[in-house]
């Protein structure tokens, strides 16, 4: 157990708390980038190189940028919105934290008792990218197809939901005339 892991854990946890408590939503999204990067570091420390890099590419590169993009498009980072939100948060956030802490306490008991499970010091050999690719094409070929289908459906669904309605109506009429 190296001190590096503890340092990374502290940074990750602190930025996660910041992402959920800061007033300005843009600051929240930027703190989330730190959380994702810290988690990628922890994955690397655990020996999951490919997963750590996938975390950087997918979360830091795509999800965080998408969140920032939507925040800026909807202008919910403006001060007026934040002020209104602050009044609401004061009256209701107490319950959310209480419920979450109760759930967290139950999970922490489980995590603590996991220390009594039989454990191995190190996996026999850490899989490289080649092993992961071979596993994806053989044992996990079916799940890979399903994930591809899911991503296609999510892409089409996201485009349709976010499409302007008048434009959808025009397209439907053109379809009907044909």
């Amino acid at each position: 157990m190296s001190p590096m892991i503890y340092f990374l854990s502290g940074v990750t946890l602190a930025s996660a708390v910041a992402a959920m408590t800061l007033r300005n939503p843009v600051h929240c999204a930027l703190a989330l980038v730190v959380t994702f990067t810290g988690l990628a570091g922890i994955y690397l420390g655990l020996g999951a190189q490919f997963l750590g890099l996938a975390q950087v590419v997918v979360y830091v590169g795509a999800v965080a940028i998408l969140l920032l993009f939507v925040l800026l498009v909807t202008r919910s980072g403006e001060a007026g919105d934040g002020d209104r939100e602050r009044d609401r948060v004061a009256e209701r956030s107490w319950w959310g934290w209480l419920i979450a802490l109760l759930v967290g306490a139950v999970l922490a008991v489980g995590a603590w008792s996991a220390g009594q499970l039989p454990q191995r010091a190190a996996p026999p050999e850490l899989p490289g990218v080649r092993d992961i690719g071979e596993a994806l094409m053989t044992d996990f070929a079916m799940p890979l197809q399903v994930v591809g289908l899911l991503l296609t459906a999510a892409m089409i669904g996201g485009a349709i939901i976010a499409l302007r309605e008048d434009r959808m109506r025009v397209a439907a009429e053109r379809e009907g005339r044909r």
């Binding site: 996660a16 655990l46 919910s76 191995r120 992961i132 999510a154």
Partner: protein, 104 residues
């Protein structure tokens, strides 16, 4: 001396707790999605932890589980943010208090 699986799992629990608290208490729909992303990341961390320290010498299954979980989380973020944009187009705000029309 606690075994190394415990601090990793406790970090995952803490991340899950923070994400859940945020998802339950924030009023901005985008920040609720941020909380859900944090919870999914905590679940991923516990997958990787059990893959690394778990007793069963299976070389890749835990890793694959986390990988597919990342793909599902990406799809969830895309659809969720499209819903937020759709809400913003109708109500000119991203606060979920504006979306209570169907509240009983």
């Amino acid at each position: 001396m606690t075994p190394p699986i415990v601090p990793h799992l406790l970090l995952a629990v803490a991340l899950f707790t923070v994400g859940m608290a945020g998802a339950l208490s924030r009023r901005n729909a985008i920040l609720i999605l941020v909380g859900i992303e944090l919870m999914l990341n905590a679940a991923n961390l516990s997958f990787v932890t059990f893959w690394r320290f778990g007793p069963k010498p299976d070389p890749q299954t835990g890793l694959m589980f986390a990988l597919f979980s990342i793909a599902v989380a990406a799809a969830e973020a895309a659809v969720g943010l499209a819903l937020v944009i759709s809400l913003f187009r109708h109500r000119r705000t991203t606060s979920i208090d504006a979306a209570g029309t169907m509240k009983g």
